[in-house]
């Protein structure tokens, strides 16, 4: 796994500190060319892993990468699914069952019948597989190294105790897509315990890790112990705690922890991207 992983929050209006800044980004990246320009830069300076939410615009990003195979040699796009707001908005308008019908329906006749059968039989594992397929359809032909489950789903399943889904998801992603299963979570230690118990080996786990203990359920000391002692591939996100910590201090702290394998960050400014990449390579 690469040490430096580029994220995409800035491209679709997420900023954990300022809604105004999020809105400005949203305006800027409304034009897909502005996203592709940033991505070209990221690729050219040697960041070769891009973690991306499965929202509609990603289709254009995948097309761009496929069109420029030589330039984007070794470039990996790792999808994080599902794009929760899409489903949340649909649940508000159509209800849970209506949403399942809508998305399991898809465009393919085959998945209509498969989805219909799965719905009727209440085969939830099958539904999960169909939803994964629906979300990953647009990534066909690009290099996928890992498929991540978004924290809103990981942590919901974790809280509800629906642990078997983690194993089903892992198996499906490995078998069907030849990719590594990954999990984004706000509750890393608890998830590690559960995955260990279910024999999900050496999983990719992406969680908030930062100097100020922000979004680290269980606390920084527990994280320290798990990072050092457990058999996981750990990706640190929110290392700057949305800009609350000075970048050098933030990354230096990550480097001081034993067991962080990679850092995920997002930015729209070339200078900031390059600086952060250099810091990660210096300290990790």
């Amino acid at each position: 796994m690469d040490k430096v992983i580029f994220g995409d929050n800035q491209f679709f209006g997420v900023n954990h500190l300022s809604e105004e800044r999020a809105r400005q980004h949203m305006k800027k990246f409304k034009d897909i060319r502005n996203i592709l320009n940033v991505l070209d830069y990221v690729n050219d300076i040697g960041i070769k892993t891009f973690m991306v939410t499965t929202y509609d615009k990603v289709e254009h990003i995948c097309e761009h990468v496929k069109r420029n195979t030589a330039r984007y040699k070794d470039f990996k796009i790792n999808p994080c699914l599902p794009y929760a707001h899409k489903y949340a908005n649909s649940v508000a308008a159509n209800g849970i069952l209506g949403t399942l019908k809508k998305y399991l329906g898809g465009n393919l006749l085959q998945s209509v019948s498969k989805g219909g059968v799965a719905l009727a039989k209440k085969d939830f594992t099958k539904m999960m597989e169909l939803l994964v397929d629906a979300e990953l359809a647009m990534f066909k032909g690009v290099n996928i190294e890992a498929v991540f489950l978004q924290n809103v789903v990981t942590d919901l399943l974790l809280g509800l105790g629906m642990y078997d889904f983690f194993l089903s998801f892992s198996d499906y992603v490995k078998e069907r897509y030849g990719a590594q299963p990954g999990f984004i979570t706000m509750n890393m230690p608890l998830l590690v315990d559960v995955l260990e118990e279910r024999n999900v080996e050496n999983p990719l786990i992406c969680s908030s890790i930062n100097k100020i203990n922000f979004r680290m359920s269980g606390g920084i000391d527990l994280y320290r112990t798990y990072l050092a002692g457990k058999n996981i591939q750990a990706i640190a996100m929110q290392v700057l705690a949305a800009g609350a910590i000075n970048p050098e201090e933030a990354v230096e702290f990550i480097g001081s922890l034993n067991g962080v394998d990679a850092v995920l960050f997002g930015s729209s400014s070339p200078k900031h991207i390059l600086d952060t990449k250099n810091l990660i390579e210096k300290y990790l």
Binding site: G13, N89, A93
Partner: protein, 372 residues
């Protein structure tokens, strides 16, 4: 260990379910829902006891606390039944669709000495808590005006067909976005005595309001303005903001950032003349389990601790929520040109379902008269 029950496993119910199940003070969790489809999934993959009849669930389990997260029109009967069985209740907002129902629930809870809470989670967001703290510390001096607003993309096209579009079922932004904003303004400066110039606007919905605008007048001379619109697709998700103006400064806050402007140096550590910024990252207390944001975890932990200590002093009690329901009712009255006194606590002897029924009957009658 406390035993918990949850009625209604839609979006909020599921989230409560996960948080409760992961909470160290919670033992067994029982769930109840009318949808056999959702229940089947949970039955198959979790250890929860599953029910379709809430009374049976309450009778069969020794519940210490109950979460009610069904559509609002069902709240009253369920909550009263739980309270009668001496169970502490957390209810999703709005507490009910009428002030009379809310009052009956609040009264019974008081009579029984039970802990109650309503899911107005904004009061557990660090930046909004900071606003409240700064007002209480008199940092901005005498408050003279408050603006409360919320925008987001809930109903952005015509023809959506869920309960959100049906007035009798608690549809409309008044019971949703507006309730949150009113409750937050209430947290900061109390309840208005009078409202005026209320506009309830249908944008895409046919039968319910998608936006609400109004002016508030408070007893102590404070004024306020409400601006809420849930058909605003320029926002990615619900964005809530308050602005409080005082004679010595002002506070502007959303869920991420709280900015405090001070006219003079307050001679207080951590504050200076001019703009002071505080972010959610430094205003947030760690939680035991994080699902959709710290505030959802924090409000549940707060409720559990209140139940454990039998502490009835709750920031989001039914009684506090009743105040919010009153404002919702006078906003509707004002918009429809009816008198909107704040003292609208007519005693009702009807049962909850009867009062809901008679509400629908009057609405039906009104429509009939209008159409003729």
């Amino acid at each position: 260990m406390l035993n918990a029950g949850i009625i209604g496993i839609g979006k909020m119910g599921l989230s409560h379910c996960a948080l409760l199940n992961a909470h160290p003070d919670i033992g067994n969790v029982a769930i109840c829902d009318a949808s056999r489809f959702q229940l089947a999934g949970l039955k198959k993959y979790t250890d929860f006891s599953c029910y379709t009849d809430y009374k049976k669930m309450i009778q069969e389990h020794e519940l210490n606390l109950l979460f009610v997260a069904t559509p609002s029109k069902f709240h009253c009967d369920m909550v009263l039944y739980a309270l009668e069985n001496n169970i502490h209740v957390f209810c999703e907002k709005p507490l009910s669709l009428s002030v009379q129902e809310s009052k009956r629930m609040a009264d019974l809870a008081n009579e029984k000495g039970l802990v109650t809470q309503v899911g107005f989670h904004n009061r557990f967001i660090g930046t909004f808590q900071a606003v409240k703290r700064f007002i209480d510390q008199n940092l901005i001096g005498e408050v003279y005006h408050i603006n409360g607003e919320a925008y987001g993309p809930v109903v952005i096209e015509e023809g959506a067909g869920t309960w959100r579009a049906v007035p009798e079922e608690g549809g409309g932004c008044l019971f949703d976005y507006v309730a949150h904003v009113i409750n937050l303004m209430q947290y900061m400066v109390g309840s208005p005595e009078k409202v005026s110039g209320t506009i309830l606007k249908k944008i895409y919905s046919k039968h319910v309001e998608d936006a609400a605008y109004s002016s508030f007048f408070y007893k102590n001379g404070i004024t306020g303005q409400l601006s809420v619109n849930w058909s605003e697709e320029t926002y990615r998700k619900m964005s809530t903001k308050v602005e409080v103006l005082g004679k010595k400064g002002k506070i502007v806050s959303d869920a991420q950032e709280c900015q405090l402007y001070l006219k003079e140096d307050p001679q207080k550590e951590g504050f200076e003349k001019g703009w002071n910024s505080f972010w959610i990252t430094d205003q947030t207390e760690p939680v035991w389990f994080n699902l959709r944001g710290e505030e959802y975890s924090a409000q549940i932990d707060y409720f559990i601790q209140k139940v454990k200590n039998n502490d009835l002093d709750n920031v989001n009690s039914f009684e506090s929520s009743l105040e919010t329901d009153k404002v919702i009712q006078i906003l509707r009255a004002d918009a429809e040109g009816r008198p909107c006194e704040t003292d609208i606590m007519g005693e009702s002897r009807e049962s909850c379902s009867e009062s809901a029924l008679s509400n629908s009957f009057w609405m039906f009658l009104k429509k009939l008269i209008r159409s003729h």
